[in-house]
């Protein structure tokens, strides 16, 4: 058994399960999450609002209703915002240091919520930067550069 044995076996099983899921979606679709009687299908991970169609329904939804169809209702602002916030931290923590990275991440995250006023986001980001500095650098003595190499820190 070489190093590729288990990954190959798992890959084949996963492909088979994926195929089965796809076939099942056409033949006997799951009741869409949230539409079924509470207790049968709805779970911790799914919105608890009413639903406007089975999961496979790709047609235009009633715009007034809460759209919980699996992928159609994904909004770009929170998704891109939160992804960008975390990615910003990953890209800048080594180069810029803790203070700019925390500030940028906090700002991007706060702005990810639709309807957040920029001033409010700014206040959140500044307080968060301060709080992170107090908790992690002052109290926990974490070895993190406040300002990184890119800033001559």
């Amino acid at each position: 058994m070489g190093p590729g044995y288990v990954p190959l076996a798992l890959g084949v099983v996963l492909a088979a399960l994926g195929l089965a899921t796809a076939v099942k979606a056409y033949v006997a679709p799951d009741p869409a999450p949230g539409a079924a009687p509470a207790g049968a299908v709805a779970d911790a991970g799914v919105s608890d609002g009413p639903l406007d169609g089975p999961a496979t329904d790709g047609g235009a939804a009633d715009a007034e209703e809460l759209d919980t169809r699996p992928l159609a209702g994904i909004q770009w602002r929170p998704t891109v915002g939160v992804f960008a916030a975390v990615t910003f931290f990953a890209l800048t923590i080594d180069g810029l240091g803790l203070v700019p990275a925390t500030f940028g991440t906090g700002l991007l995250a706060a702005l990810a919520r639709p309807g957040t006023h920029p001033v409010r986001a700014l206040v959140i980001a500044v307080s968060l930067t301060l709080a992170s500095w107090v908790i992690f650098v002052v109290l926990l003595q974490l070895r993190l550069a406040l300002f990184g190499d890119w800033l001559g820190g």
């Binding site: 288990v6 990954p7 999450p33 992928l71 992804f83 990953a90 925390t102 959140i124 992170s132 003595q141």
Partner: protein, 502 residues
């Protein structure tokens, strides 16, 4: 009598007043850092361990460690319940029903039950340990590679019970988790797998990054997509304390989970994770209204938390005799032991009884102090839910980034958080649940390692899994569990029954 002598020895070590003080300090620090949203137990312990390195007296250092351990664990359960942010594998089970309880305004009850269940389980498991340590140690040695493989398979199949949706998708999530677990260098040959030339992937994905992503970040995205995003996480907190009838409901689960946890904890590697998941599966099967699971069943919080804690106690047997840590948190603890001059090995229990039993006793004392310190504070933790969500979620994002980064000073792990956050959100949207995926990811390396070792020993003969009695029985149970889960007719009937119950 051996048992009493052993415990008396341990407690005489651990019960000196300055040791208790250190333990209390450890519990307080562990809880304080552990409840920061986004900082899980692994990160908490990694952050606080260095404090104990400076101690001259190993007993004081160990007992403070015990305090930090319990404080961090409980802090992790707190964020799992309140914010759906489990920081380690077993807390992912607690989050399933605990968070639903919190959403229904019963956060205080969930936190109290978690603390009380852990305490009862920890106490019973300490006694079990004192009585049964030598035979348990022998039992653990009887488990060879084939038995481990079969046990892991059983654990994975049983975890389908975690998912309240489609069985097919739950299975697919398990396999996807297993596959993600193979990323990195192959253990035997060192061949890099799925790394695409990225050096940072050679060590595999970080568990913390995957967990924070698929649970924490995905939960944030889900909340932000809800146009009625609660300005307050939970508008009403009806009560803080479990009622008499609720207490009566958790007696059975706590006791069953304690037994299960004590047994599984003895198995080196992954025993405590399996214990938490197995306890959840058992309670769901045993329960008169299994439909409640996944929607805030109090048994779903009490069981796994107790099992986890019982297993944590008995996992000291393999930890100290074989040097095998059950999970990342324990691995950090081993590191701290070694710094204090305790090298895990077969002799510790017999050659250094004062140390072994002192450690066990200090773990129990850590547990007691935790309950004493935290029960009065539940009201304070619950207030975390009254922070406006627009403020709370940036805090979670930033702290999660710092916590994940601080673990290995590796920005790549933070990037993984972002990717798994979006992936987790898409999975949840498509009706696939992250809990089985996480279990597959945690147990994947164990599964592969034991499969290959078993086949190596048997010279490639796969019948070894069924001809060895323990392994055969475990695999038989796994097949049975799969049949029960997959048979759609049975499932549909069960769903109808649930619907009528409500």
């Amino acid at each position: 009598m051996d048992l009493l002598d052993n415990l008396a020895l341990g407690f005489s070590e651990a019960l000196q007043w300055h040791n208790i003080l250190f333990c209390l300090l450890g519990v307080a620090l562990g809880t304080a850092v552990g409840v920061l949203p986004g900082i899980g137990p692994t990160a908490t312990i990694a952050l606080l361990l260095p404090i104990t390195f400076g101690f001259d007296d190993p007993t004081s250092a160990l007992i403070m460690l015990a305090g930090i351990y319990y404080g961090a664990q409980y802090g992790g359960s707190t964020t799992a319940i309140l914010l759906n942010l489990p920081g380690e594998s077993s807390a992912a089970v607690t989050a399933i029903d605990g968070h639903q309880m919190a959403r229904a305004g019963r956060a205080g009850v969930a936190l109290a039950v978690a603390a009380l269940g852990s305490f009862v389980a920890g106490t019973v498991a300490t006694v079990v340990l004192a009585v049964a340590a030598p035979p348990l140690a022998r039992a653990a040695l009887a488990f060879g590679a084939p038995e481990y493989f079969s046990l892991v398979v059983l654990g994975l199949i049983a975890s389908i019970a975690l998912a309240s949706g489609s069985t097919l998708k739950a299975l697919a999530m398990i396999v996807l988790g297993l596959l993600l677990g193979t990323i990195g260098q192959d253990l035997d040959t060192g061949t890099p797998r799925f790394t695409f030339g990225v050096r940072e992937l050679y060590q595999g994905l970080s568990f913390v990054a995957v967990a924070v992503g698929v649970f924490g970040i995905a939960e944030i995205l889900r909340n932000l997509h809800d146009p009625r995003t609660r300005t307050r996480m939970v508008s009403r907190v009806s009560k803080l304390w479990p009622s008499r009838s609720e207490l009566r409901r958790i007696v059975g689960p706590v006791l069953r989970a304690t037994g299960l946890g004590s047994l599984l904890g003895v198995l080196p590697g992954g025993g405590h994770v399996l214990a938490a998941y197995a306890s959840y599966a058992v309670e769901k099967r045993v329960s008169r209204n299994p439909g409640e699971f996944g929607h805030g069943a109090i048994e779903g919080v009490a069981g796994p938390e107790s099992a986890n804690n019982a297993a944590a106690q008995t996992s000291f047997i393999p930890l100290l005799t074989l040097g095998l840590p059950a999970h990342p948190v324990m691995a950090l603890m081993v590191g701290a032991f070694i710094i204090q001059g305790i090298t895990p090995g077969p002799g510790v229990m017999t050659e250094q009884p004062a140390l072994f039993w002192g450690l066990i006793a200090s773990m129990w004392i850590g547990n007691v102090l935790l309950v004493l310190l935290n029960l009065p504070l539940i009201g304070l933790w619950v207030r975390m839910l009254s922070v406006p969500y627009s403020v709370l979620f940036p805090v979670i994002v930033v702290f999660a980034c710092i916590g994940t980064y601080a673990l290995g000073q590796n920005p790549y792990h933070v990037f993984a958080v972002a990717v798994f956050g979006v992936l987790g959100f898409v999975l949840v949207r498509t009706g696939c649940e992250p809990a089985p995926l996480l279990l597959g990811f945690v147990l994947g390396p164990l599964l592969e390692d034991n499969l290959r070792r078993a086949l190596l020993i048997s010279r490639g003969d796969p019948t070894v899994f069924v001809t060895r009695p323990i392994s055969g029985v475990l695999l038989g149970l796994a097949v049975l569990a799969l049949v029960v889960a997959v048979l759609p007719a049975i499932r549909r009937k069960r769903d109808v029954v649930f619907a009528e119950d409500e």
